[in-house]
Symmetry: C2
Subunit: 313 residues, 2 copies
């Protein structure tokens, strides 16, 4: 297998581009994809400081590595969800990466902030850990981004993530989500701008970037993600991609170009005010995070009261 | 396994309805689904004569059987595509069914009409047999329906067909098809009304109907359909259905209720005139069928001329 650009021995084949690349040419391909996404969708300017939300996995560390080594001013944000061993190891990877690269990393510890780990919060409010995790991450990401006054928050969502989210939104015709799914969510009423510079690159390509750049990322998925429908959607899309390379890209880009405008017109974005309790943006008087947290605290108090009365059965 | 309605021994389970039924209760369930589709979508009235497009397969014969045995005035239409053994056997099944039930069957023979079998037409105009077959069937169905002055053409499309078509339309964001995909296509400018009374019933349910009613249908798929993407889409949807029963139904019905209105607004239906050659409805001066047929004849003439000159290499 030879590199399509220079004829050297290739290290990766990309059927969807009918191409194979050697290491330098793959890194150039990768750079072009990221640069095009940033400039075409006007994600941020070269002098803007960007906060990169990192999990310790391949996508977010590839993104941070690429931005930092291309001169973009960045700060990392790691949210410690308190998911036992998984959080301990992923935090370690992020801290080691930041130290090796000489980059600033902010850490928010959910246990310190709320008094509970994410699974404990979920158990108290009787929701799935994944749904509480999403809420907590959105909340602390925005709050930290405002505090640090960054121009945008960048996340490592790749083409597989975006295509599988789109498939889920389409299978259930989630009209509001379809109206808003986009590589750029503009800033609005206290919400910091959010961007996804890797959205045209596949999982396999961000993995190759990490391997070629010697980035020490965490391979394990979060234990709570096992059996998630998003994983099934990715499998189904991979089967389609195998038979018809380019399917994921066409599905996502066709949506952005042709279908999304009709959805956005039909579903205007909700109006946001400031939460009465914490001041963060919210569609309700008290934001979902504050309601969830006070729910968890009430559940804990009820438990303690019952215990004091010897009433637990 | 017991029938949910009467407690007798069940013959089929329907996970998506969290139910199992004995033979009489399944037939009642089936009837309710068809009746609801017909009345809710105002497909046709009880006194209307309906043309049922039959292929000899389970879906179209189940539909014709159900309509005829519920007192609907019907006429069958079989289009003999000239696909060797497959067409011979499927025609036989339709003729035998019509005779047994004492129903009128119209037969259109593509070879008699055009001078070519469908695969021969496809080879001459360098298109796939499936695309020419679709064109030929739409053309002769409409022409025959106009000649017989029926109120509507009913086809046996089931939930699996409709959901897999929808998945294909969504994966490629075919905006025009998405705007028009519906269990009823109203009559317009020479196009006869088209309806799909089985669109809420699965393949497995129309199969059960045929088995329970002793309908002798053709089990083989058309040999040209092998490896078709529609079959892959059905497989993928079946995997989703297995994990989350009701997925196909929600996907299709959610589309009709929530998403389709936005598409229809963005994509108004094309204007139709009458074909200069044959008078059938067309968006162009000469319809796609007449253009295809004259293309096939030109290819044949060119072949004959070359042969006469001894110029074939």
């Amino acid at each position: 297998m030879k590199c399509r650009r220079c004829g050297e021995v290739a290290v990766i084949d990309l059927p969807r581009h009918n191409a194979a690349f050697c290491k330098p040419c793959f890194l150039e391909y990768f750079a072009r994809q990221v640069q095009q996404a940033i400039s075409k969708f006007r994600m941020f300017a070269r002098h803007h400081r960007v906060m990169v939300a990192v999990s310790g996995g391949k996508d977010s560390l590839a993104l941070w590595h690429w931005l930092a080594s291309h001169g973009q001013p960045t700060v990392g944000l790691y949210i410690d969800l308190g998911i036992a061993e998984y959080s301990r190891v992923s935090r370690e990877r992020c801290e080691a990466f930041a130290q090796r690269m000489g980059l600033q990393l902010e850490v928010v510890d959910v246990r310190q902030e709320t008094g509970f780990s994410t699974p404990a919060l979920a158990a108290r409010v009787r929701r799935t850990t994944c749904s509480v995790c999403g809420l907590v991450k959105r909340y602390f990401t925005n709050r930290t981004a405002r505090r640090l006054q960054v121009a945008a928050v960048a996340t490592g969502h790749n083409l597989d993530d975006e295509a599988s989210t789109l498939l889920g939104n389409v299978l259930h015709w989630q009209m509001g989500y379809l109206a808003r799914q986009h590589p750029v969510l503009p800033a609005a009423d206290g919400l910091v701008r959010r961007v996804k510079p890797l959205f045209t690159l596949t999982e396999r390509e961000t993995l190759a970037y990490c391997l070629l750049q010697g980035i020490d990322f965490l391979e394990e998925e979060c234990p709570h993600a096992r059996g998630a429908t998003s994983i099934l959607y990715k499998e189904l899309l991979n089967r389609l991609e195998l038979i018809s390379p380019g399917t994921k890209h066409q599905f996502l880009l066709g949506f952005l170009r042709r279908a999304r405008p009709s959805f956005s017109q039909a579903e205007p974005p909700p109006e946001l005010g400031a939460c009465r309790e914490c001041g963060e943006p919210s569609t309700a008087e008290v934001c979902a995070y504050c309601r969830m947290l006070s729910g968890a605290r009430r559940a804990d108090d009820a438990f303690a009261t019952k215990e004091n009365k010897g009433g637990i059965t």
